[in-house]
């Protein structure tokens, strides 16, 4: 699979995740989201940026349970729950948000 942006071809794996994590740009996130009929809002970006920082620090994409807890701690209890996260990322906050953030599929995501 590949994503075409500004005449450039970005390689994706069979599930739509970036093959080269360092190739990520915000435009790629927008294009991946648009492909799933999602328009990224500030609330989406909060989660995407959080995931990118988490990966930078720990070298893994967090499991959804860990993500939920960490978001609650960082962005407030009203956001640290699966109802809120699923409202932003209906296909699963772990899988979908990690995809847009250019991270691998979360470890432990079955």
């Amino acid at each position: 699979m590949a994503l075409e942006i500004d005449g450039q071809s970005i390689e994706l794996d069979e599930e739509g995740y970036l093959v080269d994590l360092s190739a990520w740009t915000p435009e790629i996130a927008k294009a991946l989201a648009a492909g799933e009929d999602v328009e990224l809002t500030d609330e989406h970006w909060d989660i995407i940026n959080f995931l990118r920082e988490y990966y930078e620090e720990y070298q893994i994409a967090p499991a959804v349970r860990v993500l939920t807890k960490a978001v609650g701690k960082r962005l407030g209890k009203d956001k640290g729950n699966s109802k809120y996260l699923y409202s932003l990322f209906p296909y699963g906050p772990g899988k979908q948000a990690c995809k847009y953030a250019g991270l691998p599929k979360p470890t432990g995501c079955v």
Partner: protein, 134 residues
């Protein structure tokens, strides 16, 4: 699902073989099943959690910081065998400062590393229901 006591025993150096990284992946996956998970670091396995790892020269991903995420996964019992450190000229000061945050205690940071001697390690292992060695 009933909770079982799982222990993952790490005996190998972090790089040069795939054991350490694979073990860590399995540990993270096991956390999704909400089991009572602990880790043991024995022999060259103690090198996995040493400070200041740099993999630039071998072109491999430095995954040592992933151990710092274990607290988020509620994995906070990392048993390190004192004799294995001593035999390699290491002390606890050479290990990363691995902690977990206690949600019930206002997110206070608490140490995850538990130093044990060889016979204490044997006792901890004897308490386990499932032991996986890497």
């Amino acid at each position: 699902m009933a909770t079982k006591k799982f222990m993952f025993v790490n005996r190998k150096a972090p790089y040069g073989s795939v054991y350490a990284l694979e073990a860590l992946e399995v540990v993270l996956i096991s956390a999704a099943f909400e089991q009572d998970v602990s880790l043991a670091f024995i022999d060259d396995g103690v090198y996995q959690i040493t400070k200041g790892q740099n993999t630039d020269a071998i072109g491999q991903k430095n995954f040592s910081n992933t151990f710092k995420a274990l607290g988020d996964y509620e994995i906070n019992k990392l048993y390190v065998e004192k004799e294995s450190l001593e035999e390699r000229g290491l002390t606890q000061d050479d290990l990363m400062d691995l902690v977990w945050e206690d949600e019930d205690d206002d997110w206070a940071e608490k140490p995850s590393i538990i130093m044990v001697n060889r016979s204490e390690m044997a006792d901890v292992m004897a308490e386990q229901e499932v032991t996986l060695s890497f």
